[in-house]
């Protein structure tokens, strides 16, 4: 099968390089478009005024932080089950990008919370579970860094990544399961989005830009890991 041909690090290396380049270009273009729509086209919010505009970075980063964890855990599980070298490398390559987006989500959330809620931080279920996600990413990276043999490091990291995946649905549904200070989801698969359409356009553009950035960054990182290990 052609698919499995690329499962070998050597054949994947050049492919990853060209995908990463195209995705980086796409990410830059989409981010420019998204920020333009977010800052100049989208209207002022009736309640929050201009403060809501941080949503264009905050929500896209928070989505990415959860998605990347699931993808990381998926590759870690595949690597653990089938002993494939490249999957374990993908998991290691995704972790720093995921941690970055988690940090951005927490940071922009704090900056948004101060003017709207009146507090940088509260210990509600949404914020606390997102903070745990950051610790899971950092724990995964620290655990892998602490073990010298890469195969053993992969196995130990994979277990942590798989156990931690339980946290992702908790983050997502926290605002429905418990009463939290954090508002509910404006955009979901099951109902119409509760925001003006230009705002939604800006947010989706930013989300796409972050997707492409994540692909570019993790593939560039996996190339470094391949170089290091092979």
């Amino acid at each position: 099968m052609r698919w499995f041909w690329f499962a070998s690090p050597q054949t994947f290396f050049p492919l990853a390089g060209s995908i990463a380049r195209w995705c980086a270009v796409g990410a830059a273009l989409l981010a420019a478009a998204g920020l333009y729509v977010g800052f100049f086209v989208a209207p002022t919010d009736a309640q929050q005024g201009e403060a809501y505009r941080i949503i264009f970075i905050h929500v896209a980063a928070a989505w990415m932080s959860m998605l990347l964890y699931v993808v990381m855990a998926f590759w870690a599980a595949i690597g653990l089950a089938f002993n494939t070298r490249l999957s374990a490398m993908m998991a290691s390559a995704l972790a720093p990008t995921g941690a970055l987006f988690t940090f951005i989500a927490l940071w922009t959330g704090a900056l948004w919370g101060r003017p709207t809620w009146g507090a940088y931080w509260v210990w509600d279920a949404r914020l606390t579970s997102e903070l745990i996600l950051l610790f899971l990413y950092l724990g995964f990276m620290a655990l892998q860094a602490a073990i010298d043999d890469p195969r053993r490091a992969d196995r130990a990291g994979a277990l942590l990544a798989i156990v931690g995946v339980v946290n992702v649905p908790i983050i997502y549904y926290s605002v429905q399961w418990w009463n939290t200070l954090h508002q509910g989801a404006s955009v979901s698969l099951t109902r119409a989005p509760s925001m003006a359409s230009t705002m939604l356009t800006g947010m989706l553009l930013m989300a796409l830009a972050f997707w492409l950035y994540s692909i570019a960054a993790s593939l560039a990182r996996v190339r470094c890991i391949i170089k290091e290990r092979e």
Partner: protein, 149 residues
């Protein structure tokens, strides 16, 4: 069954067991993960007695009274209401008819003495013109309902 399929099955089973365990733990935590209590819960004595806790609900329209830095307002969940007394600066988004979360203690006189007041906003974002249109439509609907009654 090949060894790698066995490993996959073990991982899947482990994950399922972990999911069940997490669900049970969260279910047990249910009450303690609550960020705030609603006025109805307070009325039903579900809130901790004599300790600091948070109440959440809507600021009842027309209930905010300011005298100097002291603010009094009513928090409602449409079923029950709690009077709140607060000394200090309110967040920008503190509005009548909007969400609020207050941390403090319930006095024996039934007045909640807040030490911190946070605004809880909803997940709806719209331009001011749209908000104005929604408000007008709501008012028209209310007037119609009144006339028809």
């Amino acid at each position: 069954m090949k060894p790698r399929h066995k490993r996959l099955a073990v991982i899947a089973l482990g994950l399922a067991a972990l999911g069940v365990a997490a669900a049970l733990v969260l279910n047990a935590f249910e009450q303690n993960l609550v960020f705030f209590f609603t006025p109805s819960q307070v009325a039903a004595n579900e809130a901790p007695q004599g300790r600091t806790f948070r109440i959440g609900g809507m600021v009842q329209s027309g209930s905010v009274q300011r005298s100097g830095v002291e603010v009094r307002f009513l928090v409602t969940d449409t079923a029950k209401t709690i009077p709140v007394l607060y000394n200090g600066a309110l967040p920008d988004l503190f509005r009548e008819g909007k969400g609020v979360v207050a941390q403090g203690q319930l006095g024996p006189d039934g007045v909640f003495r807040a030490r911190e007041v946070l605004a809880k906003h909803d997940e709806n974002y719209m331009p001011p013109e749209a908000a104005e249109a929604v408000k007008r439509a709501q008012e028209t609907a209310d007037r119609m309902a009144k006339t028809l009654k």
